[in-house]
């Protein structure tokens, strides 16, 4: 692949700030940093394309070095793209206009763990799994377990308001932030403290968390931590319908129960989950259907799926005849007596809906395999398919409406399944997974983008938020006006004030570019 020639003056200038080994302009590095983990980037990469490589990659080792690089980029109006683990799925780190990729992974220290205040000060370049392992060594936990934990950094968590698999109990990352250190576009380093219980104080951290590197570079964070739970318990139930399963979750949460894990699989996802297990407990017709679908669902290379996906309208009709039952997994963590009471209430609610008790097995199975799913994408792409996920959210009142609207929009063009996780007393998130097929790169790309447009429009018109925890990046930028309304004008004014030259991650978050 031919890359644009590097401006050597830029490299020489950077060498005045950083050591040579902190700067790279090699093609392998530029290609690596020109993509993230988004399906669009994978589609391009498989066609030997990296569309948005940076001109140069730098690895600062201190906040002061970050500040110097930012000041320099600002003085020369050079785009600067903060980069963590590269696990984003929305194009949030694509160097749309070239420039400097600012990799923060060398800012990877745990600075202070305070067992009295129960918080930890950490540099944002630390890897999520290493960070969690270090906390657990001290019998503490962040309680944040995203699927990307092995790749993502704390900075990445914060940049796009990440959610972990236990978020119903521990919250999303934004619920854990007590303080931040931010480098502004002019190079100023600001330290932001919590304003909890402080009236009339701007909560500045709320401006930077989720800003995807467009308003400032996050270099340190103080995060709330928890003692490792004394006890853990899993329950699972098979509901007669998706609607009953959703009602079950809603009632459990609204009675004050906070399970750590809440996962309700829709009909197809329930079958897929069952097909992975050695022995299904459901039996009868359902089991035989599971068995018949198993080859289709697990052997994605099977030619028949390609044929199915060419006729998604017929596939959709076929899937409408699936048995309506849906599986719910609940996991509880905390003090033994309290989680026993929580489990008792949850059980009482589920049994009222005549849901079948599946015992702890499915929950334990899920826990064992909970990070595996992300690694199953490669064979799908190998076989010429594309796959992606879309996470939306809304209130309970609107949830079924949103689910059906988005599912219908996607199912016309791809195989789609969903689960409901990240539940709250007032609403819930829906996590759609879809698999599509195009005969060549052009067709795949066109179809992929068409599906996203249709799905996002269905989401917007049904009143859902376009992202619950993946962020916006480039993928959803065109829908920010629908999401924010006039508020986006205010956000643009904030951008113009904080970063008047628009050097910080330009082209992301739907912000108006400088003319």
């Amino acid at each position: 692949m031919e890359l644009k020639e590097v401006n050597l003056k830029l490299v020489r200038d950077l060498q005045k700030i950083l050591r040579k080994d902190q700067i790279s302009v090699t093609n392998p590095d530029r290609l690596s940093y020109g993509r993230d983990s988004s399906s669009q980037a994978i589609i391009w990469a498989r066609a030997n394309q990296v569309k948005y490589p940076p001109d140069v990659i730098v690895w600062p080792e201190t906040t002061q070095e970050v500040s110097k690089v930012v000041s320099f980029a600002n003085s020369k109006s050079i785009p600067l793209i903060p980069f963590g683990g590269g696990s984003g799925v929305c194009g949030g780190t694509w160097a749309l206009h070239g420039g400097i990729a600012l990799d923060l992974k060398r800012l990877n220290q745990i600075l202070k763990l305070d067992p009295i205040k129960m918080n930890v000060r950490v540099q944002t370049g630390i890897n999520g799994e290493i960070f969690e392992r270090e906390l657990q060594r001290r019998n503490m936990t962040l309680g944040h377990f995203p699927s990307s934990i092995y790749v993502a950094t704390v900075g990445g968590y914060l940049a796009c308001r990440s959610a972990g698999q236990l978020s119903t109990k521990y919250g999303k990352i934004e619920d854990m932030v007590e303080g931040l250190e931010v480098v502004l576009a002019n190079g100023d380093i600001v330290s932001i403290e919590s304003v909890k219980d402080q009236p009339k104080q701007l909560d500045l951290k709320e401006l930077f968390v989720g800003s995807e590197g467009t308003l400032g570079i996050l270099t340190e964070a103080t995060l709330k931590i928890h003692a490792m739970p004394e006890s853990e318990r899993f329950l699972a139930f098979q509901f007669r319908s998706l609607e009953e399963g959703l009602e079950g979750i809603r009632k459990i949460l609204q009675r004050g129960v906070s399970p750590a894990v809440v996962r309700l699989y829709d009909e197809l996802d329930t079958i897929l989950f069952g097909s992975h297990k050695e022995k299904s407990k459901t039996g009868g017709v359902k089991e035989s259907l599971q068995n018949s679908l198993k080859p289709m669902l697990t052997c994605i290379k099977n030619r028949s799926l390609k044929i199915f996906l060419k006729h998604t309208d017929r596939l959709g009709k076929f899937l409408n005849y699936l048995p309506g039952s849906c599986m719910l997994i609940l996991g509880f963590q905390g003090f033994k007596k309290i989680i026993e009471a929580e489990a008792e209430i949850a059980e009482e609610v589920c049994l009222k809906y005549q849901a079948a008790d599946l015992g702890p097995g499915p929950g334990l199975y899920w826990k064992k395999h909970r990070y595996s799913v992300s690694y199953k994408l490669s064979p799908i792409f190998d076989a010429g398919f594309f796959a992606d996920t879309m996470e939306v959210a809304t209130t309970w009142k609107n949830l079924s409406n949103l689910y059906h609207a988005v599912r219908e929009a996607i199912s016309k063009h791809a195989l789609v399944l969903a689960h409901f996780s990240h539940a709250y007393p007032e609403g819930c998130s829906i996590y759609f997974t879809f698999v599509g097929y195009g005969e060549n790169l052009k067709k795949s790309e066109d179809l992929y983008q068409y599906i996203w447009r249709e799905a996002l429009e269905a989401c917007v018109s049904s009143g859902g938020t376009i992202s619950h925890h993946h962020g916006v990046g480039v993928l959803k930028a065109g829908y920010m006006k629908d999401e924010w309304g006039a508020g986006l004008n205010w956000l643009n004014r904030v951008k113009n004030q904080l970063d008047p030259r628009h050097i910080l991650n330009p082209g992301k978050l739907g912000l108006t570019p400088l003319i």
Binding site: I116, M118, R161, K172, E174, L184, D188, I189, V190, S191, I192, V195, K196, D197, Q198, P199, K200, L202, D203, E206, F208, V209, G210, S211, A227, Q254, R255, V257, I338, E340, E342, I345, A393, T394, T395, W396, K397, N398, Y424, P425, E426, G427, C428, S429, G463, G464, T465, S467, H468, H470, G471, V472, W484, G485, A486, W490, L491, V494, Q497, L509
Partner: protein, 252 residues
């Protein structure tokens, strides 16, 4: 009050009402806001939103920024800003959380949607009594570490305890607590706390029904004065942020 969504447990209201007025209305419908500002919830909702008035029950239910699901602000320019009504989102900064407590940076709040909780049928009040302040501090730290969601949990002076304990007063350090919600959960929490208190040579004492309103009032007042003490915002923390604040003022 404009509308109650009893499925999502949300209430939408104009912000010229007081918190007490809204609470009274939702109580009639079988709900509570679980938001209490001292001395008696008489603050207007608009003020509570502009100033981010602390919630005395915040440890269990969160501050107003968590209890509020959506706010509509009218900016002097005529623009109306509001966040999407959703439990959480990842679409940039949180306009809702940034705007609550921002005084009038984004204009005036005209309408808001708050979370509702089922009106609790079960209440419990307790004193945890310890032979030393060291033991009670250790208990407090254990509760904090366990992040137990207790609506009111405050250290109380021995003089205040006298009114609520009928018999002997041999111990010297006391913590008062109020619990409400689902009976099974409240009981499980109290059992868990009692066990821990016992391990620290403490005792769990229940408050009799007739004394409960006074006890709750005393806990609220104690919590309020505790919050005031914690509210001393350090001037040092302000340093370095002034430039940023000025930039944000210019955006409005």
């Amino acid at each position: 009050m404009i509308e109650i969504d009893s499925t999502s447990l949300l209430v939408t209201t104009d912000t010229d009402e007081t918190i007490a007025q809204l609470e009274e209305q939702v109580l009639k419908e079988g709900f509570t806001l679980n938001y209490f500002t001292p001395p008696d919830n008489q603050d207007c909702l608009a003020d509570a939103l502009e100033e981010r008035l602390p919630n005395l029950y915040g440890e269990a239910f969160g501050g107003i920024e968590e209890l509020c699901a959506q706010v509509r602000w009218i900016h002097p320019s005529g623009e109306e800003y509001f966040n999407k009504l959703t439990p959480r989102s990842a679409t940039g900064p949180s306009l809702k959380k940034f705007s609550i407590g921002s005084d009038q940076l984004l204009g005036t709040p005209i309408q808001a949607t708050f979370r509702l909780f089922p009106r609790p049928r079960y209440h419990q009040y307790a004193i945890f009594s310890f032979p030393s302040t060291r033991a009670s501090s250790s208990f407090k730290q254990w509760v904090y570490k366990g992040r137990l969601a207790i609506p009111l949990f405050v250290e109380i002076s021995p003089s205040k305890v006298e009114d609520f304990l009928e018999k002997e007063k041999v111990n010297e350090s006391f913590i008062g607590a109020a619990f409400w919600g689902e009976e099974k959960l409240v009981l499980a929490m109290i059992n868990t706390l009692s066990e821990s208190a016992h391990q620290k040579k403490g005792r769990h004492l229940e408050i009799g029904k007739k004394n409960q309103p006074e006890f709750l009032d005393m806990l609220r007042k104690t919590k309020e004065s505790q919050l005031k003490k914690e509210r001393k915002f350090s001037a040092a923390k302000e340093k370095g942020l002034q430039g940023l604040r000025q930039m944000l003022q210019r955006c409005s």
